[in-house]
């Protein structure tokens, strides 16, 4: 990777002339205090609020686990899974079956070991279900995966959830909570613990070689493949990871309701889960957790408005039904008008907490480009689907996203340690540089402009560096931009089919 490509990649870094602004010690203390207030507030509220509210908080944490699971597929790989209720439901039934039938648990008499094993089985069954589906489904290109996952979930609903020894003929399989966690409040803390675990695993994995490989696959499958990244294997891996998380979510859901009924896992709820990830902000951990918690708590928040509560109850309707309408409307609004979702709206705060100045728009992002174009760009970037002309237009959507998309050096490194570089040195062979290398360099550099700061200058520096290093290189680059953008819908279609 010492080639022109390397220079091209490092160019944006050079052009970031002023040193990054860092808060003072006092500033850090202030930021830490706010974080402590937020998390302390949540824990304090859970510890002091009525039990039934703690129960709802537990549900919010479980939804967040499921949301993060979907986020792996939707946000990191850029595929749609509509069959998550299959994974979650299978895992819920497996864990409930284990603790009730095999471990012999009854309410108020269930060891923590049995619970742990039940959860473990849930996680494994979710992973296995995802692996089986992924092995087949991920070989199929493009949007068809959505269809397969959809019909998979439907099949699970009609066949697996109908097995009587699992579901006890529709009466439901009891899943007593373990000793010490039988109260709603204690169980909520248990769910928080698992949520923290999932967030940690998700965060570490995304920062690892695996995570970088998955993200590079999302950006461009052909380019990733040309660097020796096994595209199908990494997609399957991401799918299995999603299944493991979904399994955990299913296990927790089983002990949350304490009686697993197959009706709880239906098509509509799978769609709602997809929407909560989109509303939260694709590929953004914080956003997804907040969005999922919001969707889980929304019916109960509505209940707090008393006139509304009376009206709804009198008419014989439920708040859960209102959630579907409002959630769907929010999702449409998000997709059309605010593609970054909740994460985008909160990004000034999250950026500030990460040690930047408080600003409504990212640093180096002059007022010029705020508005629709860059918001849309943010979403495109998150899905890893670029419109060719986008890379100059959109700046840094959020610092959050910078963490989701690794900096250029990192992703280049990821690509490098995955296979033999196509070309070892630049020497005189500038003209012989393959198109694939160009694509990769472009993707990586593009990444930099998205994730970092100073988008336009970075783009210019990039171009300039390439020109200085190698004229032919620059000409090829200008002649054949990284991603063709002549025909947006058609490009989108082919992009999808390749992605």
């Amino acid at each position: 990777m010492t080639a022109t490509a390397a220079e091209t990649i490092s160019a944006p870094a050079i052009s970031r002339a002023p040193a990054k602004w860092r808060p003072s010690a006092q500033g850090w203390v202030f930021r830490a205090a706010v974080l402590v207030l937020i998390f302390g507030g949540i824990i304090w509220r859970t510890a002091t609020i009525e039990q039934f509210w703690a129960d709802r908080f537990a549900l919010a944490a479980i939804y967040a686990v499921i949301g993060l699971s979907l986020n792996v597929v939707l946000g990191y790989v850029g595929q749609v899974s509509l069959g998550h209720h299959g994974f979650v439901g299978i895992a819920a039934f497996v864990s409930a079956y284990y603790v009730t039938e095999k471990a012999g648990c009854v309410p108020n008499e269930c060891s923590l070991g049995a619970f742990g094993t039940g959860i473990l089985f849930a996680v494994i069954s979710g992973g296995v279900a995802a692996l089986l589906l992924g092995l087949i489904a991920l070989r199929i290109r493009g949007l068809y995966l959505a269809l397969i996952t959809l019909s998979y979930g439907f099949m699970a609903e009609r066949s697996i959830f109908e097995i009587p020894f699992l579901t006890r003929g529709g009466a439901g399989m009891p899943a007593p909570r373990p000793d010490g966690f039988t109260t709603d409040r204690a169980y909520a803390f248990l769910c928080y613990f698992f949520l923290a675990l999932v967030i940690f695993v998700d965060w570490r994995l995304l920062r690892s070689k695996v995570g970088r490989a998955v993200l590079s696959v999302k950006h461009s499958e052909p380019v990733a493949a040309s660097y020796g990244i096994n595209v199908t294997a990494y997609k399957t891996l991401a799918f299995v990871l999603s299944g493991l998380f979904a399994g955990l979510g299913g296990g927790l859901l089983a002990f949350h309701t304490q009686n697993v009924v197959s009706n709880d896992f239906n098509f509509a709820i799978a769609l709602l889960w997809v929407l909560m990830v989109v509303v939260g902000g694709l590929g953004n951990r914080t956003g997804v957790v907040i969005g999922s918690a919001f969707f889980a708590l929304f019916p109960f928040l509505l209940e707090l408005i008393h006139p509304l509560e009376e009206a709804v109850i009198e008419s014989g309707r439920a708040f859960g039904q209102v959630t579907i309408v409002v959630g769907a409307a929010l999702a449409i609004l998000t997709v059309i008008q605010f593609p970054g979702g909740i994460a985008e709206q909160l990004s000034p705060i999250t950026r500030w907490l990460r040690g930047q100045k408080f600003a409504l728009h990212p640093e180096g992002h002059g007022g010029k480009h705020k508005g629709h174009a860059h918001k849309k760009g943010a979403l495109l970037a998150k899905l890893g689907l670029h419109k060719g002309d986008q890379h100059a237009v959109d700046g840094a959507p959020s610092e959050q996203q910078a963490s989701a998309n690794p900096p250029p050096e990192e992703s280049a490194a990821a690509v490098a340690d995955h296979g033999t570089p196509l070309r070892a040195d630049n020497g005189a062979a500038g003209g012989g540089e393959t198109a694939a290398t160009h694509g990769a360099a472009a993707v990586a550099a593009d990444d930099g402009t998205r994730g970092g700061d100073g988008s336009e200058s970075a783009g210019d520096g990039d171009e300039g560096a390439a020109g200085d290093a190698d004229d032919i290189d620059a000409v090829i680059r200008r002649r054949f931009p990284p991603v063709p953008s002549r025909t947006p819908p058609a490009t989108g279609a082919t992009d999808d089919e390749e992605a």
Binding site: L143, Y144, A146, K376, P488
Partner: protein, 336 residues
């Protein structure tokens, strides 16, 4: 040419099955008829899916909801007599027109702003719209099953036709008739008319289409309006045969319809027609096979029996997988 061959092969298979089982009362014949009439509905919805896919390269998850919306509108006018009592046929026509307006509104509000977005985003948007429609129906009509009377109750003075121990209601015959007519009409539309060619052009290269003077927005409006029309017709015709619940056409029909469209090739209208029928046949025949061969004694048999209660769905999913793995372009699909 290819489509003629495929249709011929399917027809021949159906004829052979019917001929072989003619004397066997427990044979598959009744199931073949059920499958065909069920498949006709799948085909009708699949036509709308293919139309949208041809025009904008996206799976329209709201296609089923067009049908449910239309069915609920008919229900409101015929059963609840709101705003006034309307004859059934007029109610159906009004419902279809209103649903087309819904489709146009959806195009304007949801699809148009996303015309140049990645297809995954548009896909999510159609899902959101479908869920919005389902949620609105739940709020308006509560999640209770309702019954919608059939549009036609007698043909040639008879109210039912016995065919291989299966009662063929006039409504089912109407569905078969309407679907055949629509499929033929659409095939003609896309191959022979300028408007049809313009729709095809949009799906291939919208920029070039705009260059030669075809309005992309106008075409998009046309495509989604027609899709809503097809969905509404399917809903008005099919829902009387089943129960009317919020999202009825999405939970029960959309997935087999997608499978049918994929089997047919996702871009081929005759393919959608044939694919829908094939899916109906697969589901119905696997139902028959499941009931016929798998019932036995013992735990294993009971477990198998429990699993095969979902046989039609499993078989449909397997069919989808096999087609996508072995022949992703479908039976009649082309790269166009």
């Amino acid at each position: 040419m290819k489509s003629v061959i495929v249709v011929g092969v399917v027809a021949a298979l159906v004829a052979i099955i019917l001929a072989l089982g003619a004397d066997d009362p427990t044979g598959p014949n009744a199931f073949v008829i059920i499958g065909l009439s069920q498949g006709a509905v799948f085909g009708l919805v699949a036509l709308g899916l293919v139309l949208v896919y041809k025009g904008s390269r996206v799976f329209n998850f709201a296609q089923g909801e067009f049908g449910t919306i239309a069915a609920f509108l008919v229900f409101v006018m015929v059963e609840q007599r709101f705003p006034t009592k309307v004859p059934y046929v007029a109610a159906a026509a009004i419902a279809v027109v209103l649903t087309v307006l819904v489709g146009l509104a959806m195009e304007r509000v949801v699809v148009r702003p996303l015309l140049n977005s990645p297809r995954v985003i548009l896909l999510v948007a159609t899902i959101a719209f479908a869920l919005f429609a389902i949620g609105a129906q739940v709020l308006a009509f509560l999640p209770e099953a309702k019954a919608l009377p059939p549009m036609v109750t007698s043909v040639f003075g008879r109210s039912s036709f016995e065919l291989y121990a299966f009662t063929l209601e006039p409504q089912r015959m109407l569905i078969l008739l309407v679907m055949g007519g629509l499929a033929a009409g659409l095939a003609y539309f896309f191959s022979k008319t300028d408007l049809g060619l313009a729709v095809l052009a949009i799906s291939q290269d919208s920029f070039a289409t705009r260059v030669v003077g075809i309005g992309v927005e106008r075409m998009s409006r046309f495509i989604w309006g027609s899709a809503a029309f097809l969905g509404a017709v399917a809903g008005v015709l099919y829902v009387p045969l089943t129960v009317l619940t919020p999202g009825a056409m999405t939970t029960g029909v959309l997935i087999p319809a997608f499978t049918g469209a994929v089997i047919g090739g996702m871009t081929s209208l005759p393919g959608a027609f044939v694919g829908g029928l094939i899916v109906g046949l697969i589901g119905s025949l696997s139902n028959w096979a499941g009931g016929h061969y798998m019932i036995g004694e013992g735990d294993t048999a009971r477990l198998l029996g429990d699993i095969i209660k979902g046989t039609p769905d499993v078989a449909v999913v397997l069919a989808l997988l096999i087609v996508l793995l072995a022949r992703p372009q479908g039976l009649l699909g082309r790269e166009a």
